[in-house]
Each structure stands twice: as C-alpha cells, then as structure tokens.
C-alpha cells in the first residue's frame, strides 16, 4: 500500500498577502518603518497642495506614490529630503519621522538630511562636467574619506553603468544617452552612500528599454536601500513597488481649490487586484475622470 499524503496541507485558501509572502516579498509591513508620516500637509503661499497624509515607508522596500496630476505626490516626496525648503513660499506642517527623529526639528541640518536621503529627478540632470566629476561631486562637497576612484567605480557598478563608461570617465556627461544619463544620476546619488533613494518619476523621460533597465535596477537596489518613487505610470508601480499609495485630488466646492489627499495605501498586490476604495479602483482601471 502506498501512502498518499506527504505533508499536512492547509485546507483553507491562502489570502493574497500570504501569496505575496510565499513569492518572496517577505511581509513588508513587518519591517522597520524608515519614515513615519503623520497628518502631513504642505502649502505654497496659502494654497494647500496636500494634506492629511498618514503612512509608513518600510525598509528595503519600494514604495510607490501614484495618482492623477495635481494630487501632490511630488510635493510629498520632496518633504522626505527637505527639498521643499528651497521654495520660499512652502510651508510644511504635521510630522515626518525619519528613524524616529523629527525631520523638521529646529536642530536638524537639511544638508545632513540630503546626504542620507538622495533624490533622482524626472529629467536627467547631469552636471556639465566629466562623468567622473559628476559622481565625485557629492563625496567631494561632503568631504567623504576614502579613495575617490573606488567610490566612483563602485557607484557606477551599482547603477549598472560601469561597463558602458569605464573607458570614458573623463568625457563630458552630457554626451551620454538619456537612459545612461539617468543611471549616471542614480550613481551620483549612490556615491554618497545614502540610506534612502527618492525617485521623482525617474523613467518618464526615457524610452521603454531604458525604463525597463531602471526598473530592474530598482529591484536590485532595494536589497540595500529603501526606495520611494513617484510615478504617473501605474503599470510601473504595479511592476516595481512592494507598497503603493494612491493619492487623489479633492476639490473644495466653495472655493474650487484643489488639494491632494491620500486615498489608499496597501500592498501593491491588493491595490491592483482588490482595492478597498472605489476611487482607487476607478484610477487603476483607467476609468478615472
């Protein structure tokens, strides 16, 4: 007689979160919260761009902010590295905790914040210098110790750009293609050894192949870094993100003012299969507006 059962198997069906777990995501929400945002709002000269944001960004995960234009997602991501400070009329309220510390406390130096929380922009913005000097800029201005050559090489390896530029480090960065320039900007960011990498629509100015390369890169990088990305391409969020936050625009009926609000924040799998809020469903199915 042969026995049939090898191992005890569960009889009840698995939830999607469990599926995500067995597919290697781990349980993202169990990991340390790198950022804790509480009741955040941002206004520019009296106009509230986004308000009432509450979410946690978890370590070694890719967190995506999606939503229609004007919903404040770029504004939000710029709160994480205090780039909103550069806009004189910007006012940030509420709380952003970074590893438990208030990012906007009086004794916090924005320069130090930006070293640990790097940013890659929508349109690649290489400096008008050589490839080497681009990557070396960060370590030089921050006075980082150690071999500069090693830093540059390591950053270029991490950004999957080394092989393409190793023979022309002294050439101008402006001679690279769009996709290469963006990877250069990522390498530039990595050279200062940040903790978090913020990406504001990193692939929207690139062709599809370069976009795929950047997405594969994010997959690699999240092992060491925490990544937050803003994207208007929700399929991209579906592909790369572990957690997705959907923002929408609220229009004040009396004043007509438009303000961004957080609608739903959950595992990407849930957002794209069974979203809890109808607004989310309308957006991801493309029936928005």
């Amino acid at each position: 007689m042969t026995t049939m059962t090898e191992q005890a198997s569960s009889i009840e069906p698995m939830s999607l979160a469990d599926i995500a777990q067995t597919h290697g995501d781990g349980s993202v929400t169990d990991r340390e919260a790198v950022f804790r945002v509480r009741d955040l709002y941002v206004s520019y000269g009296g106009n509230v761009a986004i308000r009432g944001v509450n979410l946690d960004v978890h370590k070694n995960a890719v967190t995506a902010f999606i939503g229609p234009s004007g919903c404040g997602k770029s504004t939000l991501i710029r709160c994480f590295d205090r780039m909103n400070d550069l806009v004189p009329s910007a006012k940030v309220g509420g709380e952003v905790l970074y590893h438990g510390k208030d990012l906007y406390a009086a004794d916090v130096d924005p320069v130090e914040v930006r070293r640990r929380i790097g940013m890659v922009f929508q349109k690649p913005n290489p400096f008008p210098k050589s490839i080497y000097d681009n990557i070396a800029f960060g370590p030089r201005v921050l006075g980082l110790k150690g071999s500069l050559d090693e830093r540059v090489e390591r950053a270029l390896h991490q950004a999957a750009l080394w092989d393409e530029v190793k023979d022309r480090l002294k050439e101008s960065a402006l001679g690279l293609s769009g996709g290469q320039q963006q990877r250069l900007c990522i390498a530039r960011c990595l050279a200062v050894e940040p903790d978090v990498i913020l990406m504001d629509e990193p692939a929207s100015a690139l062709d599809p192949i370069s976009t795929t390369r950047i997405e594969d890169l994010m997959h690699e990088l999240k092992r060491e870094y925490t990544i937050v990305i803003v994207t208007h391409n929700m399929q991209q969020a579906a592909r790369v993100a572990d957690m997705t936050a959907f923002f929408s625009v609220q229009v004040d009926e009396e004043t007509g003012r438009r303000t961004g609000v957080l609608v739903e924040y959950d595992n990407t799998a849930k957002i794209f299969t069974t979203p809890a809020d109808k607004r989310t469903e309308d957006y991801v199915t493309g029936r928005f507006g």
């Binding site: 007689m1 042969t2 026995t3 049939m4 059962t5 090898e6 198997s9 569960s10 009889i11 069906p13 698995m14 999607l16 599926i19 995500a20 067995t22 597919h23 192949i209 795929t212 390369r213 997405e215 594969d216 997959h219 399929q235 579906a238 592909r239 990407t268 799998a269 794209f272 299969t273």
Partner: protein
C-alpha cells in the same frame, strides 16, 4: 531584463509541474485501489485531493497576481492563459481520481472481473503516460509531442469501448451488474482523464503557434 517577471513566470510553471506530480500520484493510487479493491487506499486518495486543491489555488492566485502586476503580452500572455487552463484541467483530473476512489468504496464486497481489472491497469498506465507527455511537451514547448497525445487518447478510447463490450457480454446476476455499472463509470473517468491530457496538449500547441485549434472536436469525429 524584467528579471523578477521572468522569475515569477518560472515559479508558476514549476508550481504547475508540482501539481502534475500530485495528480500522477493520485491517479496511481486510484487505479491501484480499484484493481486491488483496497478501501484504505481509496480513502487516502480522497483525502489527498486537498493537496491538489491547495496547489490549484496557489497557481490560480499566482496567475491573478501576475496578470495584475506584470501585464504580460504576446507569448508571455499566451503562456499565462495556457497555464490558467492547464491548472483547471489538472484539478479536474484530480477530481476524477477522487471519483474513481469513491466508486471503489461503493463497490466494496462486490465480485470483480479479473480481466476487466487488468484492462483498467492498462488504461491507468496509458493515462499516466499521457499526463507525463502532456506536462513534458508543455515544459519543452514541443508541439509535435503535444499532437502525439491524440493517438494515445485513441488507445484509451478503444480500451474504454472494450470495457463496455466486455460488460455487455458477461451480464450476470444483480451484484455483478451493479459492479459492472460502477466499473463503466470508472472506465469513463479514466477516459476523461485522457481527454484532459489532450486538452493540455492543445494549450501547448496554442502557446507555440499562437493559434488555438482543437485536435479533435466532439461534434466532428
């Protein structure tokens, strides 16, 4: 490029392969149980179906997630759709094995016909072979192997007809007739398992050629 996507696809295929192995074990157990009238074995086959069902669910959910997150197109899409249907076929095969086991239990104590049971053993081996060919042709994207399933199915169909004829010939008393009726159903289940294997082969051909074509149609013999 798209490394994680490829990994997810590979994982789905390998989950399906695991399900296939489970179905094969279930089939072997069911045929063994009917041929040696082993009641305990039949119970085990019935319980084992839970494993197949949970594997089915895992593949099902995995496909849903993959479609939502990765929006596959072209050959990737055909692969996912083929896996979706193959998943169903395997699960149905599992259910048919359970039916065979239940019929075994129902025919407890009834007098068997040795020749018939010999025939079932052969049909069972044939069905097992077809499942293996179907799964391997999927794995290797082999259209020719998939199409060969048609001939193998013909053999099972003939064996099925032989069972019916044999039972018509032997006739017998009430108990024998009761046993006979149940065994026709067992034969039918085995024949259905063969059909499902052919269906899996059709999906493989679809995957490779991009065209869905039935190897054989019930309404056009």
């Amino acid at each position: 490029m798209r490394i994680s996507f490829q990994e997810e696809l590979d994982e789905l295929e390998s989950s399906l392969r695991v399900e296939g192995e489970l179905v094969l074990r279930s089939l072997r157990g069911a045929v063994e149980a009917v041929c040696s009238q082993d009641q305990e074995l039949a119970d085990e086959v019935i319980a084992f179906d839970d494993d197949i069902d949970s594997q089915f669910f895992e593949v099902e959910q995995g496909i849903e997630l993959l479609l939502a997150r990765q929006t596959p197109v072209a050959s990737d899409l055909r692969l996912v759709l083929a896996l979706l249907k193959d998943n169903l076929h395997l699960e149905r095969m599992g259910d048919l094995c359970v039916t065979i086991a239940k019929l075994t239990k129902l025919s407890k104590g009834l007098p068997p016909d040795a020749a018939l049971l010999e025939g079932f053993k052969e049909m069972g081996e044939r069905a097992e072979q077809m499942i293996r060919v179907a799964l391997r042709s999927l794995e290797q994207r082999d259209r020719v192997a998939a199409e060969s399933l048609l001939e193998l199915d013909e053999l099972i169909d003939r064996a099925n007809r032989r069972v019916v004829n044999r039972l018509l010939d032997t006739g017998g008393d009430l108990e024998m007739r009761e046993w006979g009726l149940r065994m026709i159903l067992v034969s039918r289940c085995l024949e259905r398992i063969g059909d499902h294997a052919v269906d899996i082969g059709e999906q493989t051909a679809y995957l490779v050629t991009g065209e869905f074509r039935e190897f054989t149609d019930a309404s056009h013999p």
